[in-house]
């Protein structure tokens, strides 16, 4: 199995990137040019259902969202670790159950961590 790849193999990413940027740029400029441009002070205010908006809206928000993001980073890294294991699993499982046992330990630790954060109340919303 040859899995070596050269930078040229990744050219389609660059191409799609350029196509996406070009498309959005074209659409934004074309509609900016075509559309009307009547600006007034009231029109440029932040929309709050007709009520005058008070103060800055970049307010402190619930820390829970931040916590969720951190938990995601932790767990997503673990999931990424499983990808190479999953690809090679069929090959390894021919030589005994070692690969399965190791993943059992890994997932066991992960579930233990999950139970810990739930017990600690990381997901409690008042």
């Amino acid at each position: 199995m040859v899995l070596l790849s050269t930078p040229v193999d990744y050219l389609p990413i660059a191409m799609m990137f350029v196509v996406a940027i070009g498309f959005v740029l074209f659409v934004m400029f074309a509609t900016h040019w075509m559309g009307p441009k009547h600006k007034s002070k009231v029109k440029l205010e932040a929309f709050e259902c007709g009520i005058e908006s008070k103060g800055n809206s970049r307010l402190p928000f619930s820390i829970k969202y931040f916590l969720i993001a951190i938990l995601f980073v932790l767990f997503d890294v673990e999931v990424i670790f499983m990808y190479p294991w999953a690809v090679n699993f069929a090959e390894w499982s021919k030589h005994g159950l070692a690969a399965f046992g190791e993943m059992l330990v890994f997932l066991g630790l992960l579930v233990f961590g999950l139970i810990y954060i739930i017990r600690k109340g990381a997901l409690k919303w008042e």
């Binding site: 934004m28 509609t31 559309g35 709050e48 969720i68």
Partner: protein
């Protein structure tokens, strides 16, 4: 029989005979780019029309039926209207980030399009890390949403973006784990390998109950990741107006709207590829005659059919389930779906060791 594979080989042969080497490649690139943009436009128009029609029929209405035959041109007319509107940037907004956000969302949507196999041998980019690439790029859209919500300087937008980000990021985990179940069974991340491993039966049939569980988890995760009802509290109309794109107008709004529908299509296309066999026709054991009839249906139709079926399923959810609260939403993911998909992954590995799926 019509096949996209033949069309591509004819075009390629013609290009190579008429143009010198680097230029043939450039022309192919341009054609792919134009095709991708055309696909975007058609998908956007058709999915919005489908959404409205499905919604209408579920509520015993007719839906759009005035513009064109059966209202087919309704969405085109709506798009034309949006094109002619003014794209405002509010005074308090961070002007640079506000205008950058639609780019981020569209780039993410466009990049995931590359490895999707639309028909037999009809794929922009068949890379060895296909599924991992999809999982990685699909999280980039979150940055665009956070950018849009924060830069708008609007309380609704900020709250909507926060909810949306927490939700997308959480459900990413169980989506990744349920994709892993199939990676274990097929032993490859390459999209074409995954499809070829389903030649003798789609994984949802071959994989018994564990794969069906993975499929259900994946569909729930896709519904949540695309911010659709019952998980649409990021743009819950009655409390947050429109969530993170409240301040957007004109074509900037349309780009978010388009990206949302493209993401539904992409999520469903990945689900159809991984669990339902992509372009692979439906075969039953050794019923030769039946299999031949199924082979006669073009592979592109199989792919589109499966994807549209999944999209219909997600549209159906919207009119079936009531909206969740944010704590219920996160509980569902962290306390139920994540442990279930972890245990399910172990069951799938056990199945792979025992060879029950063969």
């Amino acid at each position: 029989m019509f096949s996209l594979e033949k069309l591509v080989s004819i075009i390629q042969a013609w290009l190579q005979s008429t143009l010198r080497d680097p230029w043939a490649y450039v022309v192919v690139c341009v054609m792919v780019g134009v095709a991708a943009i055309a696909l975007f436009a058609i998908l956007g128009l058709m999915l919005v029309y489908m959404e409205r029609k499905v919604a209408a029929h579920m509520q015993i209405r007719l839906g759009p039926n005035r513009v064109g035959p059966m209202g087919l041109f309704q969405t085109t007319a709506d798009t034309l209207k949006l094109v002619m509107k003014e794209g405002l940037t509010p005074d308090g907004a961070d002007k640079f980030l506000f205008n950058l956000a639609p780019f981020m969302v569209m780039i993410a949507a466009m990049l995931i399009l590359a490895p999707i196999a639309f028909a037999k041998n009809f794929q922009i980019w068949d890379i060895s890390i296909g599924v991992l690439y999809v999982a990685a790029v699909s999280s980039v859209a979150v940055i665009g949403i956070l950018m849009a919500g924060w830069s708008s300087n609007n309380k609704y937008s900020l709250l909507g973006a926060m909810r949306s980000a927490a939700q997308i990021v959480s459900y990413e985990l169980s989506a990744g784990l349920s994709i892993l179940a199939i990676v274990i069974l097929s032993g490859s991340l390459k999209i074409s390998d995954i499809i070829n491993s389903q030649a003798d039966g789609w994984w949802i049939i071959k994989g018994h109950i564990p794969v069906i569980i993975a499929f259900i988890v994946f569909i729930i995760a896709v519904t949540a990741e695309t911010n659709r009802a019952p998980f649409d509290l990021a743009e819950a109309e009655s409390e947050l107006t429109a969530g993170f794109h409240t301040e957007y107008s004109g074509m900037k709004f349309a780009l978010f709207f388009l990206a949302e529908y493209i993401n539904i299509f992409i999520g469903c296309a990945i689900g159809a590829t991984i669990f339902l066999g992509g372009w692979m026709p439906f075969h039953i054991g050794n019923w030769e005659a039946f299999n031949h009839v199924m082979d006669f249906i073009p592979s592109s139709l199989w792919f589109i059919g499966k994807t549209v079926f999944l999209i219909f399923l997600i549209m159906w959810f919207r009119w079936t389930f009531p909206r969740l609260r944010v704590d219920q939403l996160l509980n569902l993911e962290w306390k139920y779906l994540l442990p279930i998909s972890m245990v399910n992954l172990l069951v799938v590995t056990l199945m792979a060791i025992m060879g029950w799926h063969l």
